[in-house]
């Protein structure tokens, strides 16, 4: 029997449909330099890290079935929590005329806003990677997409919850005091085996793109509760509530102007609350008779829990500029400033990237915080300004 399964798998692997047995991915090295002394003497000013993310892809049955496998490895100089392994993707996909079925671990993105991803909820954030919350852990799921003339309905059953990763004691930037993931607690007695559910409708009408979704299950962002651990030290313990969240994301594409809106209503995590983020992105094509495009972004972020919100986006304006050089090296610079209207705190982000030759990519990133109030969640990282260089070899 095992022998037959092996023959079957082998037949799949050598079947001549393209693209068969494709390997790609990247190998990278990251260096971060922190410009200020750390808040905790256990933290460091410099950090070196290696990362490897290969990707295997195979399709068969005239491309209507496929298998993708993306393991992820990081080796970090100082932070034991940041040294980690994850399966970003291990998905079997079956495509039919009116539906698509995906089973396995994967990543799903919802939303249109640039400075935060408010309505994006399917995946857990791999926070040790980057505080921008754009790195995600692979989420186990069964996802059925029903494709109709009037739009796509995605149904998600998520049988296993992934805890958020948090930097360890030597990690930086990180919360103060440190988050101890060994002391995580759940509202549901099923803990991480609680079956989470989601449904999303998405479509476009002319130049309007819309998504409406509902999520029921374990909150991806935990409440962090100050707790004394066994050795008597003050730590933060994650607490995962069962929540209901209804959301909408909307974009109107009017010539060079993109209008964007995301809003959500969440209950089950403390008091019921609403949050909204809206804004625009306008692109000037070919500025100063060059090939360079300049995008100008403006956004407003609001959370009706106000200062008690566990987010830095409770009443904040954000503005940014995106330079796309449209050159052979695909050079890009993105600058963004988030300004807290209540505390006056500012958070400046600069990201730049440029290809070197055909296979190498150099990325630069800097995150600087100014005037952070001790009442703001960003205060914990207010001395963790850093400059990062990230060089990858892509294959």
């Amino acid at each position: 029997m095992k022998y037959k399964i092996f023959i079957f798998l082998f037949a799949i692997l050598i079947s001549t449909n393209t693209p068969a047995n494709e390997w790609s991915g990247y190998l990278g090295t990251e260096f971060r330099y922190f410009t200020q002394d750390p808040r905790d003497p256990g933290q460091h000013d410099e950090n070196l890290s290696l990362v490897f993310e290969p990707e295997y892809y195979h399709e068969w049955d005239k491309g209507t079935q496929s298998l993708a496998f993306v393991p992820f490895f990081r080796l970090d100089q100082h932070d034991n929590e940041r040294t980690h392994f994850d399966i970003r993707e291990l998905t079997w996909l079956k495509v039919a005329e009116n539906w698509e079925l995906r089973v396995g671990l994967r990543k799903v993105f919802w939303g249109v806003i640039e400075f935060q991803h408010l309505v994006d909820i399917i995946n857990q954030t791999d926070l040790v990677e980057n505080i921008d919350t754009e790195d995600k852990l692979g989420q186990p799921m069964i996802n059925l997409a029903l494709i109709n003339d009037w739009g796509t309905v995605d149904l998600f059953i998520m049988p296993y919850f992934r805890e958020r990763t948090f930097p360890g004691i030597e990690g930086r930037p990180r919360n103060q005091p440190v988050v101890d993931t060994d002391l995580s607690k759940y509202e549901s007695s099923a803990e991480e085996k609680h079956i989470d559910l989601a449904i999303r409708y998405s479509h476009y009408f002319g130049d309007w793109d819309i998504g409406v979704a509902h999520f029921y299950g374990t909150s991806r962002d935990p409440r962090l509760l100050p707790t004394v651990n066994r050795s008597g030290a003050l730590i933060l313990a994650p607490f995962y509530d069962i929540i209901n969240q209804t959301s909408i994301d909307l974009q109107a594409t009017k010539g060079n102007m993109l209008w964007k809106l995301e809003a959500l209503h969440r209950s089950g995590q403390g008091e019921t609350y609403n949050a909204v983020a809206g804004g625009f992105e306008y692109t000037f094509v070919g500025i100063f008779d060059s090939a360079i495009d300049l995008g100008v972004l403006g956004e407003y972020h609001y959370d009706d829990r106000g200062e008690s919100a566990a987010t830095i986006f409770e009443d904040d304006l954000a503005t940014g500029m995106r330079f796309a050089f449209n050159d052979a090296q695909s050079s890009e610079i993105l600058m963004g400033l988030i300004w807290d209207r209540n505390t006056g705190g500012k958070f400046l982000n600069i990201e730049a990237s440029r290809r070197i030759g055909n296979d190498w990519l150099l990325e630069m990133e800097t995150r600087l915080l100014f005037n952070q109030s001790s009442s703001d969640p960003a205060f914990a990282i207010s001395r963790d300004d850093y400059l990062e260089l990230f060089l990858t070899y892509n294959f």
Binding site: P19, E22, S24, Y26, Y57, E59, G63, S66, L93, V95, E97, E100, R106, K107, V108, F109, G111, V112, E134, A145, I147, T152, S202, Y204, D207, D209, Q251, T253, G255, N256, M257, L258, T283, V285, G286, A291, D293, N326, D327, A328, Q329, S330, R355, G357, N358, D359, L361, T392, N394, F395
Partner: protein, 261 residues
Amino acid sequence: MRKNCFLPILLLILPLHNAFAETAEEKGLAIAVEADKRDTGWVDQTADLEMILTNKHGESSRRTMKLKSLEVDGDGDKSLTIFDKPRDIKGTAFLSHTHALKPDDQWLYLPALKRIKRISSANKSGPFVGSEFAYEDLSSQEVEKYTYKWLRDETIDGHDVFVIERFPQYKNSGYTRQISWMDKEMYQPRKVEFYDRKNTLLKTLVSSDYEQYLDQYWRPGKMEMVNHQTGKKTDLIWKDYQFKNGLGDRDFDRNTLKRAR
């Protein structure tokens, strides 16, 4: 005998007479309509494309991508471009539902974030992935997008051609006009000159290595675009053209972007 000869001569003169009555604009339009007619009915098309970007110092970089197109009756075509190289953008996919005069609907898929992003199609004149080809150069060529003027007939490299001037009628074009050397046999361009907004010669495109598919559709094997103002050039090498693959609207919708390879 004499009388018998007269009728064929008259028949020969009649169409010539019509041709003389036709204005240069009418003749230009008629050629564009004929070219469009001859390139109708291919239903769907896939091809592999290699793009070689060379700067004025002779340094080059390569991109490879797969292109899929679907013919749409009474509207612009749908197209899907899936990048394979450079590797850092592998899996990036660009979906375009083109329209003759109304703005195209365009989406970009960013595989690292798994994000589908609706993008502005107002950027017609900008470079496509850093190349010397603008978005508008690679977009579906609908008759209504231009007004036309026949200039003269010529012979280039032993091929008889119509020389036609065309003027973009859609918004945000980077060109005042283009001059196209249209092969009389294939009704496909052998050469195109692009004039910028100041009406200065900006680029020249030379298409070659044409082959005929399904006994009807001519496709170039090579396209070479030279930018006279920057000294940069981009070569497109087309491979493995395939037609009537059974593709449909579902292969060009937003869901497809997430799994395009």
